[in-house]
């Protein structure tokens, strides 16, 4: 599965982790102390954030520290966002246009008395 920034911050726990780490670089355990959920669950979230490049893990002696790497977030999302939003809107509009036409084509013949629900079943 491809990891990206959008996936990283789709989860509220991960957003909270980023918020905490953005203020202070913390050990894995110190991060986990901020949450009620299990340590392995937090580790999993941190692993995803690491894979997305938002967190860098640094080993210092016996401890592993989580450091925020937010520049990647700012850069990646800023320039891609505008286009993501633009194309999402456009391609949704295309879908709506095609759907509208489908409905019009199916409702056009006078003989057709099929209800909307049966049409949906037919499509699938």
């Amino acid at each position: 599965m491809r990891r990206d920034v959008f996936q990283a911050i789709a989860d509220p726990t991960r957003r909270e982790i980023i918020n905490i780490i953005a203020k202070h670089t913390l050990t894995l355990n110190a991060v986990a102390d901020n949450f009620d959920i299990s340590r392995p669950a937090i580790s999993k979230h941190i692993k995803i954030l690491t894979e997305c490049g938002l967190i860098i893990i640094k080993q210092q002696g016996r401890e592993r520290y989580c450091e925020a790497n937010l520049s990647s977030l700012g850069q990646v999302s800023a320039w891609i966002d505008e286009y993501r939003i633009f194309w999402t809107k456009k391609l949704d509009a295309l879908g709506a246009f095609l759907d509208k036409e489908n409905v019009e084509l199916k409702t056009a013949p006078k003989k057709s008395t099929t209800s909307l629900s049966t049409k949906k079943i037919k499509r699938k």
């Binding site: 959008f6 911050i9 789709a10 957003r15 980023i18 918020n19 953005a22 937010l70 520049s71 977030l73 700012g74 850069q75 990646v76 999302s77 800023a78 320039w79 891609i80 966002d81 505008e82 286009y83 993501r84 939003i85 633009f86 194309w87 999402t88 456009k90 391609l91 949704d92 509009a93 295309l94 879908g95 709506a96 246009f97 095609l98 759907d99 036409e101 489908n102 499509r123």
Partner: protein
């Protein structure tokens, strides 16, 4: 900054020929895309349209570079008065009775306007990005899906 092209996919409940018409017929395009004075799916054909964000209006300059009927359409995409050039590719794949559309927008990092935007946004702060913009966007996407 990553140079990976931007990719987005959709599956539509319409055959490829229909989707092809929707992305290449001027009258269809007007319904969902842009109102162009003319459009012909031919290599070398050029078209322009205006698009705006909150601040200003950008004149888009496009030139078709590849046409494979009912399969693939590529055009260059740049902005009047700005450096940089990008390429937009629509690819259509039959999927059951419908069509999977894959849109690729490559070369966005070549736009200075985007670089400026990125810088501004970085100064503006990632908190509002994470805190407001992206969750809104993600919620919207979930609703759509």
């Amino acid at each position: 900054m990553t140079n990976e092209p931007f990719v987005i996919e959709r599956v539509y409940n319409a055959p490829v020929e229909r989707v092809w018409k929707a992305i290449t017929d001027k009258n269809d395009m007007k319904q969902w895309y842009f109102d162009l004075s003319d459009f012909r799916p031919e290599v070398g054909f050029e078209f322009t349209f205006e698009g705006r964000n909150e601040e200003r209006c950008y004149v888009h300059l496009c030139k078709i570079t590849e046409v494979v009927p009912a399969k693939k359409l590529t055009y260059s995409w740049k902005y009047e008065g700005y450096e940089g050039n990008s390429f937009v590719t629509f690819e259509l794949y039959p999927e059951g009775t419908g069509t999977r559309l894959k849109l690729t927008h490559a070369g966005l990092e070549t736009f200075p306007a985007i670089a400026d935007f990125a810088k501004q946004n970085f100064v503006f702060g990632w908190t509002s990005l994470i805190g407001e913009m992206l969750p809104k966007f993600l919620d919207k996407e979930v609703t759509v899906a």
